[in-house]
Symmetry: C2
């Protein structure tokens, strides 16, 4: 049976609130995901919240299913109110359902490169919206997952989880640093493809090999030059205009579709 919490002073409320900060997530090993849609995606992907909050009076068959499964898994189901949900999520108009999940291992070891032909690697990606968009693009192009290199937006932050619209639960994400990534990459097959302004090679010229690792740089700075030097193939997406760069998620998508289009057509012949 769900228990009820309506007091701001409840220690659990304080603990969950602390998950809005990176420090709190690290200490507790938990994070927040909001909304019935995202929590249902998580459930379908085999991830249940350890704690499920919902606003009293919420009535939805998907919520009923979620409650049943969380209870069956001996999770904590808590009936509460909009004020508490606002306090937990920090949003003016909070979702009526909020889940607290255990974070999971995002080390590079989790990545089995044999399971996909295409991987996306983002370096110092800062914007949660871009993280979400890149995850959705990765899903669309059949990428094995997203490898976050260096100081990126925390994929377990409230903003990032929101922006991924559930893809956090369905896509494989690894977090690492460049000094660890390169030895890992070079220990197996793989072409590292960087997009850059510092090359004349058109992105449609090379024939890309499998597995391909598409490397995209920070939104403001692009890739450091030493990182570009490490790429097997450095290509330029042509730009005709005044601005000198595409949005990072757009560049990733344009590059990824070129790679899979080449393979699609090779397969058709």
């Amino acid at each position: 049976m769900p228990r009820e919490i309506t007091a701001f002073s409840n220690p659990l409320v304080k603990d969950v609130r602390a998950l809005r900060e990176k420090k709190g997530r690290r200490r507790q090993g938990m994070f927040i995901a909001e909304g019935l849609r995202i929590l249902t995606e998580a459930r379908e992907a085999g991830r249940l919240p350890a704690i499920l909050f919902y606003a009293k009076g919420t009535n939805h068959p998907l919520l009923a299913a979620l409650i049943a499964e969380v209870e069956a898994a001996h999770g904590d189901v808590i009936e509460t109110n909009a004020d508490i949900l606002h306090k937990l999520s920090g949003k003016e108009n909070p979702q009526t359902v909020l889940g607290v999940f255990r974070t999971w291992d995002t080390s590079l070891d989790r990545i089995d490169r044999a399971c996909a032909d295409l991987w996306i690697v983002a370096q110092a990606l800062r914007d949660p919206g871009n993280l979400g968009t890149i995850l959705r693009t990765g899903d669309a192009v059949g990428a094995g997952g997203l490898i976050l290199v260096d100081e990126c937006v925390d994929p377990f932050s409230v903003e990032a989880v929101r922006a991924t619209m559930g893809a956090l639960f369905t896509q494989t994400i690894a977090t690492t640093g460049w000094p660890d990534f390169i030895p890992w990459l070079r220990a197996g097959e793989g072409e590292l493809i960087g997009t850059s302004l510092n090359t004349a090679l058109d992105y449609q010229e090379p024939r890309y090999r499998k597995p391909a690792f598409i490397l995209v740089g920070n939104e403001a700075q692009g890739l450091p030059s030493t990182y570009e030097a490490e790429c097997d193939t450095l290509v330029k997406i042509p730009m005709r205009g005044k601005a000198d760069s595409l949005n990072a998620a757009v560049a990733t998508a344009v590059m990824a579709y070129e790679v899979i289009n080449q393979w699609r057509h090779a397969g058709n012949k």
Copy 2:
């Protein structure tokens, strides 16, 4: 000489603050753009603010250039403080420079389709970030501009101006409704290309003609079926994953690069 305003009660402060709401922008015919970078882009594109606010003590050659030009154009230059800038912009850490610009005519009549081979048309686009990303993509692919159809995010809203990172000033934007757009489109040359899930035609199959109008639908709903029926060519970007849609700005970019890539290669032959 700049005049100084430090009192919240100053009526100008109240007027500018009102520009954060659509009602205020419509009544005054003005909008806010923040930050020296964006204001410098605007200046280079020939747009000067009618009123320029800057924080006392800000020292930058680009600001000096901006002040000189605004004064030469008989604009109002106002030295102020961080508190007032916070009040005007609504941001916790406001930029030290803020401009108040006159809005301009965004009617379809401004669009001369002969000036470009490619145009982007967004229907019911809601997210300011997507607006900004699509404008930057349009710039990169050499599009003539962006036509916003139906109830879209206001390109003059503070969030949209911020997200466009200056592209608002360099790109042509028109706003219209579908019942006006279609007769305008059909009064001249142009292939209307829609991306959709409701077709089997791969987006790389057709040979696209000039001028091409790429039509992208609302982030959540996609295009209404009657709008799809109006398209000359309805194509599908292949998706291999679980999710059923790409981000709207990503879909626009993938489509736009396919179109210009076809033309690039035709030109090379």
